[in-house]
Amino acid sequence: MGDPLLRISGLTKAYPGVVANDDVSFDIGEAEVHALLGENGAGKSTLVKMIYGLVKPDKGGMTLRGAPFTPPEPRAARAAGVAMVFQHFSLFDALNVAENIALGMENPPKQRDLAARIREVSETYGLPLDPMKIVGDLSAGERQRVEIIRCLLQDPKLLIMDEPTSVLTPQEVEILFQTLRKLKAEGTSILYISHKLEEIRALCDTATILRLGKKVDTCTPAEKTARELATMMVGASFETPAKAARELGPVVLEVADLSMKAPTEFGTSLKNVSFQVKAGEVLGLGGVAGNGQDELILALSGERTGGTGKVMLKGRDLGQEGPVARRAAGLLTAPEERLGHAAAPDMSLTENAFLTAKTRKGMVKNGFLDWGKARGFAEEVIKAFDVRTPGTENAARSLSGGNLQKFVIGREVLQGPEVLVVNQPTWGVDAAAAAAIRQALLDLAAGGAAIVVISQDLDELMEVSDRFGALNEGRLSEIRPVDGLTVEQIGLMMGGAHDMEVAHVDG
C-alpha cells in the first residue's frame, strides 16, 4: 500500500493550562470514512483546526499523499483539497446562498454560473437548495447543505465534518449518510467527527478515539460494540441516571395556546403552543435547532411577554409577568447559552448566584443587597454540584463549560422550584457532568417539581423524560408517553408531521 491520503504524526498543541492534543498520530486512507470520536474537550476540534490551517501545531507534522502538508491558513488547506463543514456554521445570515458559497471558494465563477453549478451539485447529491435564498431564512438542515455544497464545489479530497447530525432530524440524517456514501464511492475521504456511537458504527470504516488530548486507539467501529467504544471514549464508566418510579401529582404548569411573534428577523414565531406538566413529571421537548426552542424558553422565563395565550402556574396566569415575578411564584428557567445569558461572563459566581436567586433566597432588603447571603448560596451550589473552581469570587467565564453548566443548573435546582424549564442542559458538557446534571433533574422531579427539558439530544430526552413532544417551526407536536415511542415516530414528530394532526383537529 502506498501513502495514505493524510498522515498525521505526533501532532501536539498546548494552550495555557491544557494540552489540547498530545502526540496524536493516525492515517486517513483514500476513499475512507474515518471517525474521530471523543467527548467534549477531548481535543477533536483542535486537531481538526490544525488540519484545516486555523491553528498551527506546536509539534509534529502531516503529509498529504506523501507530500508535507502544513497549511498556514484555511485558504492553503482548501487549495490542497481539504474542505470543512463546521459545527457552528460559518454562514452569513444577511447574504444569499450563492454569495455564501462564493465566499468559501478561491476563484468563484460569476454569480449566474455559480448559481447554475449550485443547482447541478445539489441535484446530483440529493441536497435541494435555492441559490438565491437569503441564508438567514433557511432551516438548520438547509444551512448545513449550504456548507456541504460549498465544500463539494471544490472537489475536495478530504471532507471534514464536525458533528454534522446534531442539527438534523433522523430522516435528514439518513439523507446525509446517503450523500456521504456516494461521495465515498467517488473516492472522497471523509473525516467524521462525532460522539454518537451508533452513527459511527453505521457509517465509518475506521475510527480514531481521543481522550483528554491523547489518542486511545484506532479501530474498525463495526467490529466493536457501542459499549466498548463508549468505554474507550470516556475512560471510566460512570453511572447512568436512575429514573425512579414516581407518583405524579396535579398539573403544576399549564401553557395554553401560547403564540408570540419572533423577536428578530431570523427568529421563529411561537404558534399555539399548549402543554401541561404535572408535579413529579419530566416533559421532554425535542426538535431541530431553530424551531422555537429559544423563543419558548424566553416566553416561559418572562423575558418576553406580550404574546397571546396563557402560562398558568398552579392556576395563576403569569403570562404578562416578568422574570422576577415568575421566579417568586416558583417558575424557574435555565437557558441554553451559559455565558452571556444564564450567567454574566465577567461577574463573579457570587454575583451570578444573586442574578436569579435574589428573590427566592431573600438576598435583597429595601433594595440593598446582602452579599454575605449571595456568597453563602454560591458556596452551597458549588459544594452540592461539585463545581470545580477556586472560589466564589472567580468570574463565570473562567469556569469550564461543564462546571459552569453545573453551577447554572444547581443555582436553579437549589432554589426549590415548582417548575424548572431547561434548554440544552448538557450541551457541550463532558459525560460525567452531563450525567450529574440529568440525575439532579430527575431527583428534583422525584421531589415533586415539574420539569421541562428542551433538548436537541434525543438520547438525553429518552433517558430523562416521561412524555415527549417536538417543536417544528414554532409549533408543538402532540405529546406522547416516551415508553413505546419509536425512532420513526419521533422523526415524524420533529419533521412537522403534526401538520396532519392540525388538519385533523381543524376538521
Partner: protein, 361 residues
C-alpha cells in the same frame, strides 16, 4: 511575534494601574507635543501639573481647582451610570447648558425678590429638571423608536448651544446691560448666587453636591440592587433581561440621572463661577466629563480623582497659556491623548501579552 491572550478574568492590578500609567504616558506624549511646538516640555508640564497646586500662586489656583472639578465630577458621576449600563449619553454638554438656562430662568423671573430660601431651591429643581428633560428626549426616542441615543443626545448639544446664544441676546438679555449680550449677573443677586461658602476655598454648593454624589454613587454601585442591575446590563444585556432587568426602564432612569446631574452642574456654574447666561458659557465640561468618567474607571472614587486631575489640566492650561503662550487648544489635544492612552493601555487589563518566537514550520 506579539500575541494577545484573553485573561480568564480582568486583572485587578491593571484595572487600577492603567489610569496612572495613562497619565504618565500622556505627560510624556504631551511633552513631545509641547517640544514640537517650540515650548520647553518640562517647564510646560510643571506649569500645568505642579505650579497650580504647589507653586507660588497656588493660593489663587487651589480654589479654582475645586470650582472646575465640581461640574466635571458631578457630570461624570451621572454619566458613569449610563456608561456602565451601555447607554451612551454623549450630550451631557447640552444637558448642562439647558440646566443653566432653566436655573437662571427661575432666578431672572424672580428678580429682584429677596427670598433665597425659596428661589435658590427652586433654581436647583429647575436646573435638574432642565437637564433631565433634555436627556429624556434621547431616552424616550431610544425606547419607543429605537433611535441611537448617541446621535440624538449629541444633536441636542448643538441645539442647546444655539439656544443659549439666542437667549443671551434675546429673552434673557440684561435690560440694564447697555445692549451687551448676556443676562444679569446672578453673582450680584444674593437670592440666587452660588458663592463660596467658605471664603477662598472654592467650596460652593456644587462642590458639596459633587462630593455627596460620589458617596451616594459609591453606595449604590457597591450595595444597592440598582447599581448591580446597571453593571449587569452593561456587561451582559441578555443576562440582565434574564435576571428581570427591564432595559427600557434602565435607559430612562440612567439618562435621567446623568441629565439631572449635568443640569445641576450647569445651574451651579451659571449661578456661581460663570454668573450669567452668555454665548460663551459652554465650557466643554460635558465632553471633558466623558474623559473623567473613563479615566476614573466609572468608579465614583476614581471619578473624584480624575475630575481633580482634569480640572488641573484646565487651570494649568490657563496658566501655561498666559505665562508660556501655550495655546488653549493644546490642552484639548492633551485631554484627547489622555483618553487614547487610557483606552489603549486597557488592553493590559483584559489581555495578557505573550511574546512568541516566530515559528519556522
Amino acid at each position: 511575534m506579539i500575541r494577545l491572550e484573553k485573561r480568564p478574568q480582568p486583572s485587578q492590578l491593571w484595572t487600577y494601574l492603567t489610569p496612572v500609567l495613562a497619565v504618565v504616558v500622556t505627560m510624556v506624549l504631551g511633552g513631545v507635543l509641547f517640544a514640537f511646538m517650540g515650548k520647553a516640555p518640562l517647564e510646560a508640564i510643571r506649569t500645568i501639573f505642579w505650579d497650580p497646586i504647589f507653586g507660588e500662586f497656588a493660593f489663587y489656583y487651589r480654589p479654582e481647582l475645586l470650582k472646575k472639578a465640581a461640574p466635571l465630577i458631578l457630570i461624570a458621576i451621572g454619566l458613569s451610570f449610563g456608561f456602565r449600563a451601555g447607554i451612551w449619553n454623549i450630550g451631557a454638554e447640552g444637558q448642562y447648558i439647558i440646566g443653566a438656562i432653566c436655573g437662571a430662568g427661575v432666578a431672572l423671573a424672580f428678580y429682584p425678590t429677596e427670598a433665597r430660601w425659596l428661589i435658590f431651591p427652586l433654581m436647583i429643581v429647575a436646573g435638574i429638571l432642565g437637564g433631565l428633560i433634555w436627556a429624556l428626549i434621547p431616552a424616550l426616542l431610544k425606547v419607543y423608536f429605537r433611535t441611537n441615543e448617541i446621535l440624538v443626545s449629541l444633536m441636542l448639544v448643538y441645539v442647546a448651544e444655539v439656544l443659549i446664544k439666542a437667549f443671551s441676546v434675546g429673552l434673557m438679555r440684561n435690560p440694564e446691560g447697555m445692549g451687551f449680550p448676556g443676562s444679569r449677573n446672578l453673582r450680584q443677586y444674593p437670592a440666587a448666587a452660588n458663592l463660596e461658602l467658605i471664603a477662598n476655598t472654592g467650596i460652593h454648593w456644587g462642590v458639596i453636591t459633587a462630593v455627596f454624589a460620589v458617596i451616594v454613587a459609591q453606595v449604590f454601585f457597591a450595595r444597592h440592587q440598582f447599581g448591580f442591575n446597571v453593571r449587569l446590563a452593561g456587561q451582559s444585556p441578555r443576562a440582565a433581561t434574564f435576571a428581570g432587568v427591564d432595559p427600557s426602564r434602565l435607559v430612562i432612569i440612567c439618562m435621567c440621572i446623568s441629565g439631572g446631574l449635568a443640569g445641576l452642574a450647569g445651574l451651579y456654574e451659571v449661578a456661581g463661577p460663570s454668573g450669567q447666561i452668555l454665548g460663551s458659557f459652554p465650557a466643554y465640561y460635558g465632553f471633558t466629563a466623558i474623559i473623567v468618567a473613563f479615566l476614573g474607571r466609572l468608579n465614583p472614587i476614581g471619578i473624584l480623582l480624575a475630575g481633580l486631575l482634569l480640572a488641573l489640566t484646565y487651570i494649568g492650561g490657563d496658566a501655561a497659556s498666559s505665562s508660556m503662550n501655550l495655546p488653549a487648544a493644546a490642552i484639548q489635544v492633551f485631554q484627547g491623548m489622555l483618553l487614547f492612552s487610557l483606552l489603549s493601555l486597557d488592553v493590559l487589563t483584559n489581555y495578557r501579552i505573550r511574546l512568541k518566537k516566530a515559528q519556522v514550520a
